[in-house]
Assembly symmetry: D2
Amino acid sequence: MIIVMKTGSSKEQVRNVVERVEELGLHAHLSEGEERTIVGVVGAPLPPDLDERFAALDGVDNVVRITKKFKLAGWDFHPQKTIIDLGDGVTIGGEEISIIAGPCSVESEEQTISTAKWVKAQGATILRGGAYKPRTSPYEFRGLGVKGLEILAQARKETGLKLITEVMTPADVEVVGEYTDIFQIGARNAQNYLLLEEVGKAGKPVMLKRGLSMLMEEWLLAAEYVMAQGNPNVILCERGIRTFETWTRNTLDISTVSVIQSLSHLPVFIDPSHAVGKRAYVASASLAAVAAGADGLMIEVHPDPDRAMSDAAQQLNFQEFADLMPRIGAVAEAVGRVAPSGTTASAA
Amino acid sequence: MIIVMKTGSSKEQVRNVVERVEELGLHAHLSEGEERTIVGVVGAPLPPDLDERFAALDGVDNVVRITKKFKLAGWDFHPQKTIIDLGDGVTIGGEEISIIAGPCSVESEEQTISTAKWVKAQGATILRGGAYKPRTSPYEFRGLGVKGLEILAQARKETGLKLITEVMTPADVEVVGEYTDIFQIGARNAQNYLLLEEVGKAGKPVMLKRGLSMLMEEWLLAAEYVMAQGNPNVILCERGIRTFETWTRNTLDISTVSVIQSLSHLPVFIDPSHAVGKRAYVASASLAAVAAGADGLMIEVHPDPDRAMSDAAQQLNFQEFADLMPRIGAVAEAVGRVAPSGTTASAA
Amino acid sequence: MIIVMKTGSSKEQVRNVVERVEELGLHAHLSEGEERTIVGVVGAPLPPDLDERFAALDGVDNVVRITKKFKLAGWDFHPQKTIIDLGDGVTIGGEEISIIAGPCSVESEEQTISTAKWVKAQGATILRGGAYKPRTSPYEFRGLGVKGLEILAQARKETGLKLITEVMTPADVEVVGEYTDIFQIGARNAQNYLLLEEVGKAGKPVMLKRGLSMLMEEWLLAAEYVMAQGNPNVILCERGIRTFETWTRNTLDISTVSVIQSLSHLPVFIDPSHAVGKRAYVASASLAAVAAGADGLMIEVHPDPDRAMSDAAQQLNFQEFADLMPRIGAVAEAVGRVAPSGTTASAA
Amino acid sequence: MIIVMKTGSSKEQVRNVVERVEELGLHAHLSEGEERTIVGVVGAPLPPDLDERFAALDGVDNVVRITKKFKLAGWDFHPQKTIIDLGDGVTIGGEEISIIAGPCSVESEEQTISTAKWVKAQGATILRGGAYKPRTSPYEFRGLGVKGLEILAQARKETGLKLITEVMTPADVEVVGEYTDIFQIGARNAQNYLLLEEVGKAGKPVMLKRGLSMLMEEWLLAAEYVMAQGNPNVILCERGIRTFETWTRNTLDISTVSVIQSLSHLPVFIDPSHAVGKRAYVASASLAAVAAGADGLMIEVHPDPDRAMSDAAQQLNFQEFADLMPRIGAVAEAVGRVAPSGTTASAA
């Protein structure tokens, strides 16, 4: 960490800064320039909020953190890309693009299982479906709960798909963990730290959606909460951030793919459905994500989107999804990845 | 709700829309213009996500919601301004500007009680202090927990101040409720719906901070979650939103005061400390908030901010707070409010 | 346009609204519901700021515009996609992906011509290079002016590439127009309406960068300014918007591609260089743009980026550009477009 | 400037950085830590884009600029607050709060002069009114041009008010300068650098509105463009920034007042009308601005706002303005400023 003193800061102010550094068991290295004094701070480990602690001291102009705040999520401590093995040949983070698909909410056995069969036939390997739904208004449909989890388990049994479903609160981690293969943490809970720790302890892989206005560094620190509990299997999923533009539901920050891959070994997914929020724009966003280098996609599919109990505007119908999958496969191959099974050019 | 059909939408598309309306037990009222057909939807109650359900139907151009999604928080069902009585003559939402002050985190009995005595002497009526701290990194100080709650209770006993402290997860609502007078829901938990319902059930007043990128309507819907559990005593607290500007920690959206007061009967507070994030700008933000019409302020005060274990850069020291309070009192009186006790012009 | 009156609005307020409608030579159509009155406004043409004029009238709750504000840029008046013919077989908006490449600034004849030859050899058809540079600080390099334009013309002569260069002010339109094939309007001038009209009159094609915080509708209205002068050849270029995220220079709003294509017949380009601002992320953004359906890319290339006089961090060097082009070609073909010449799979 | 090398950067990479520093005629000062090497850059003047030039060099992790990019606008070179004397006893930036008021657009002599007389009687000292109007759509009313300027001059003659009016393009600076006392640069032109230089040369005071998504540092650099032409009389005017919140037209960034005052000696104004965009919220924003420490306000007033040809929703009518002024005066005095003439407590 580097502490830049103001032009004209007094010797006493510099001495005070140095004392604070030493109080914390760290060392201060002074560099006195013509105009300014600069204090280098060395020693380890640096407390993560050290910059904040020094920023308001008298005579301090600027504090610059050099080391990143996240560790387990970064390349330094884990130089290989993370590949998550879900069993039965289903992996995440490898050469093959992974497709998670399914309805926004589990509404019924018929709706869920028909969707599961359809998306499996097109090349998806993981089924999504919400049993516990966070809704902006308390008067909206909030999911079937345990009944929904049972339906998902039934769909897995009939199709062999792996499962991902959202858990919203620490008390539900146990029951959701009995059914799901991957815990999903939604955007609104992206900084619900006690929930992150609880899924960290539960051991199963965790998909962490980016919060609506979360900096990428904060997102990696949220992953760090899960990983610090001993759970290395975290997937980061960008689902659009909130900006001034309102034509799309959110703004898909496509650059997260390459940026996160430069900072972290964790797999990165894109959720095009929430990002754009309108059916007509989902295909374009999906293809962009694969070309950008995403490890997978999470796409909402419903047998009758217009009658869906949540997110009606953004779910694809069966035909739209079937049309999209070979296009995803073609782009995957164009960028040197393995297409989702059943969507390769040769199969198409 | 009004459904605007596209120019050139077919009769079949209009018929389909009308059928969907009727499926939901509502009535459709057609108005066929020269260029477009408009479908009015009447009947009650309208499902809150009705606009979303119709937006993607074939032939639909635009869906306009007319009624607001929140009810209990709005003026229609509650034409008087909410005044919350905390007992012992301490109220929120009346003529007097309420000052909540205290350290970011409860660090020790000495630190907390000395602060409590100081802020009480300057005119604060409610003590703040975090016992459970949400931190961006898992490696930062996260509060003293129950020990912190006990220190707060001791401070209340010694000063007569009321207490507010944050609760982060449903499982902690019971224990926090044994100590606090007001539950604080932090910005990161502003859409943690199960937590909102749990504090709704607990019965004590709830201060709901605005999320970092929360629309005002979403904020009122979060209040609705609390109120729908039978708890009418919700305080809304703006603490800055996230924008592109980085000189301040967040951007204080000062207009929330007048906008929320036009939409809702609930008291509105401003937290200038988190909004600006730097000590030097807290006073200006505080005075602006009172002039804008806020019902109260929540200000971080610490005996030695430079050594604070969290939010060091933004906490005021004792003298800064003492200097600020009479200025708050003067502005309060200038806008026709009652100054915090002990800060009136006559007392000054 | 639909004017929704407030619950409980008086007959007089409704009458006042109707009178205002009629003052403007339009017709009002009343629809009185149980709770509210709704006033439909018909007649043509509706003034573009009509919604604003009615929004603040007493008793009015909400005004909803139905028709879009832009006309010439929309599909209604121009049902074919715009293809711009630059001559010599170079077109924009057709099946082939167009690549504009070149240095941020024209610095010297050697730098510009060597770059032009290189990018031409890799498949670019249009050369970019700034002779007039908008710079955030008045103390930065601001371009070579006419000397820069002459260098660009020399590069065109030697390579056959078409030219695009920025014009910053109406007084320069004439001289820039003597040299360039396409006028570039920069993000900071995206709502410099007099400049838009001046390039509209000049007749040559215009590339309109999106402003840093411009809504897509405002962007199309800026295009409308150009087109209303009789110039149909406008290219829209997304170059990243300003959001809270600071890791990338801007946030590439990749969804602009599909959204603009749904609203307008104009070609859409992506400028990955300005969008991400760091060399390492340009390739991923470029591939994403092509997969999303963009009609072309505008990429900064410099023989020695580290010594560039502007935008050093984001320009690709020759080898990086040469490596990227076949990858762009492969993705183009995967989404059914024609690869830039010389980058086809067969050529690679 | 400080260049932080990556952990594990090679000696060659460090040597390369040092060479580039010396190529620019500056000196490099090496500090080799256990993990990293840090290169301090000294010498003057540092090119303003120096950080950008080094950010992408191999082996560089981070570049930290220490000196600010603006000079003339900062306190270092001008330790007294700027007070602008407009003559006839009208000053800006002193103890008295300045009120600029008037219609959005000059529509007619009757409308402008009646407004001028009214606002003068309430304590305004400067008349605003647009003769050249930037409009989002080319089909909207764009001002009366020179005829509008003549009407403003007539209003000045009849009332003694000073004038401010917008200039949109360099070619109009001369004619606008013949009439106005202050040039207004609108938000859309905040980075129209050639226009900034032209008004810088014209010599009269310049009010510089903040762009919709302009960082405060960029705003000060825009002021620097004007000041670098020898014109020290710049007024900064915050008029709301663009964020995700849409209930208000823009988001008033009230903290600009205290932040700019900490960075610059230039006067700071607030334009509450554009910031909130709805009449009902203008008073609250005005009072907040004065309490925050603003040097003045710019408020839109119209004899019949509902029939205004632009910005109908946000202009105050005469009575609303008359009601607001004494409240502004009271808050001004509460924060130790001088109330606008005629609005003092004693006068009220």
